[in-house]
């Protein structure tokens, strides 16, 4: 019994498909350089770092993350293929989602060998310490002189060292997130309780109709309210209302026994919610965001 115009949601999918196809055909987007997969803290696609250096650096970055929570990664590319370094580096940083979600404490050092360009991309949370100016100084004074001398590994080492020194001690271990979660759960709980209450009442108040229809209506109403917490909570609350209503109505009046029809209807109509994130093992971004802070340079 939702207002009629809700039904036209169906039309949105084809529209999206058209837009999506349009994107596929857009030559500009086709030529854009892909973001490489985040295989580790050091992603060296140009093979510029000897394995020994890469390992050492990676260990250093890992130790730093354990100590401070800051996520620092290095990407070395053979070429940018015509893309502006700022745009590409922001795209990589936001795709990799370096840094923690609440603190946005990620840093990306990106180096493009062919264009001889580099950039330090700084997450929102570190902009205060690793400022644009500080990033520019690191590039200008630590990295570029070594790159100019032809020693890429030394430049990367000196650069990451300077970055780590700058941001060391800036991050206090996050207070245990339990409080936030409790808060979230309690508000989710409110939605669920109100939802069940509203759905149950509505189901009871309706004097006519089949028991099944009334339980269904109550469940749908509950879902509408409780989905504000999350889809999962909505489904759970709706199920609860359906069961409660079914029991209450069975106790009260006549009605056909139809077993678990409502349940099967419900499960099939709202099947499949998205799963949680998968841990690939190894290194992955923590959900940090980037607002374009940092500096670029060339050599």
């Amino acid at each position: 019994m939702m207002p009629l115009h809700c039904m036209s949601r169906v039309w949105r999918e084809p529209a999206r498909l058209v837009v999506f196809l349009g994107f596929l055909l857009n030559p500009l987007l086709l030529s854009a350089l892909d973001v490489p997969p985040l295989t580790g803290r050091i992603v060296d696609l140009a093979g510029a770092l000897p394995a020994h250096d890469a390992e050492q650096l990676s260990a250093r970055l890992e130790a730093h993350e354990q100590q401070t929570g800051n996520q620092v990664a290095v990407l070395i590319l053979p070429s940018l293929e015509g893309e502006p370094v700022e745009e590409y580096s922001h795209r990589v940083a936001t795709t990799w989602r370096l840094g923690r979600k609440e603190t946005d404490n990620g840093v990306l050092l990106l180096i493009a060998l062919k264009e001889r360009k580099l950039r330090i991309e700084v997450g929102y949370g570190l902009e205060g310490t690793l400022t644009d100016l500080r990033s520019a100084h690191i590039i200008r004074n630590e990295i570029v002189p070594r790159f100019k001398a032809g020693d890429i590994p030394a430049g990367v080492r000196a650069g990451t060292d300077a970055i780590l020194q700058t941001i060391e001690g800036t991050y206090q271990a996050a207070e245990s997130p339990t409080r936030d979660r409790q808060l979230l759960q309690s508000s989710a709980f409110q939605y669920v309780i109100i939802g069940v209450f509203v759905g149950f009442l509505a189901g009871l108040v309706l004097s006519q109709g089949l028991r099944r229809a009334r339980a269904l209506l109550g469940a749908v109403l509950t879902f509408m309210v409780a989905q504000a917490a999350s889809i999962l909570w909505g489904v759970a609350a709706a199920g609860l209302t359906a069961v409660l209503l079914w029991m209450a109505l069975s106790a009260k009046g006549p009605g056909r026994r139809r077993g678990f029809d409502d349940w099967t209807w419900y499960r099939s109509s709202r099947g499949g919610w998205s799963g949680g994130s998968f841990d690939h093992g190894g290194f992955s971004g923590g959900g940090g965001d980037f607002g374009g802070g940092g500096a670029s340079g060339d050599w």
Partner: protein, 196 residues
């Protein structure tokens, strides 16, 4: 019994609003405002850097009066505009803001371009630092604008798409928002003219 039905109807309508983007629209409305604040914030940051920059350039190239004054004027124009939330709803005011900021962008471009002619200025530590900060800010502006453009596009879609447009129009009274235009992008992307 009539009253009971009214209650049920009310509950259903509330539920229907949820289903038809009431919350989504409200959320997107807030999102666009937040994205807009970030844009304004970054533009402000740029404006704050300019007095220092002008003073530094003056030290080396005091006779480039025209360019220097151009920057000062453009800055005054850009900061003179009162930024209000109402601006988001008013295409004309939005356009004006956009134009003023684009004017400042090109005036700054000219200033940086003339710096190329003064090796001493280019080597000045203070100038280099200011230039890095300016570059950083321009980049943040780009990011903030991009985010705003995305948010507004999303919002406008919701306001125009069929089921949700009814909620937007009749219940929330939300209108489409002006976005940064391509013409403006072109003006910004245009390389500054270099005069000799």
């Amino acid at each position: 019994m009539g009253r009971v039905y009214m209650i049920v109807l009310g509950v259903l309508m509330t539920g229907g609003l949820w289903g038809c983007g009431y919350n989504d629209l409200q959320g997107l409305d807030e999102d666009t405002k937040a994205a807009w604040s970030e844009v304004v914030n970054q533009y402000q940051r740029r404006a704050d850097l300019i007095p220092n920059l002008v003073a530094t350039v003056k030290g080396y190239a005091a006779h480039e009066k025209e360019t220097l004054e151009g920057v000062v004027q453009a800055r005054a124009q850009a900061t003179g505009i009162q930024v209000t939330p109402e601006m988001l709803k008013d295409p004309a005011a939005f356009e004006q803001f956009q134009k003023a900021q684009a004017g400042l962008t090109s005036a700054l471009g000219r200033l940086i371009a003339i710096a190329e002619n003064y090796p001493n200025l280019k080597a000045d530590q203070n100038f280099r630092d200011l230039q890095s900060q300016l570059e950083g800010t321009e980049n943040r502006i780009t990011v903030a604008r991009k985010r705003y453009i995305d948010r507004v596009a999303e919002y406008n879609k919701m306001v125009r798409y069929f089921p949700t447009n009814l909620t937007a129009k009749f219940i929330l009274h939300l209108d489409e928002r002006p976005n940064f235009s391509v013409a403006d992008e072109k003006a910004v992307a245009k390389p500054p003219e270099v005069k000799f």
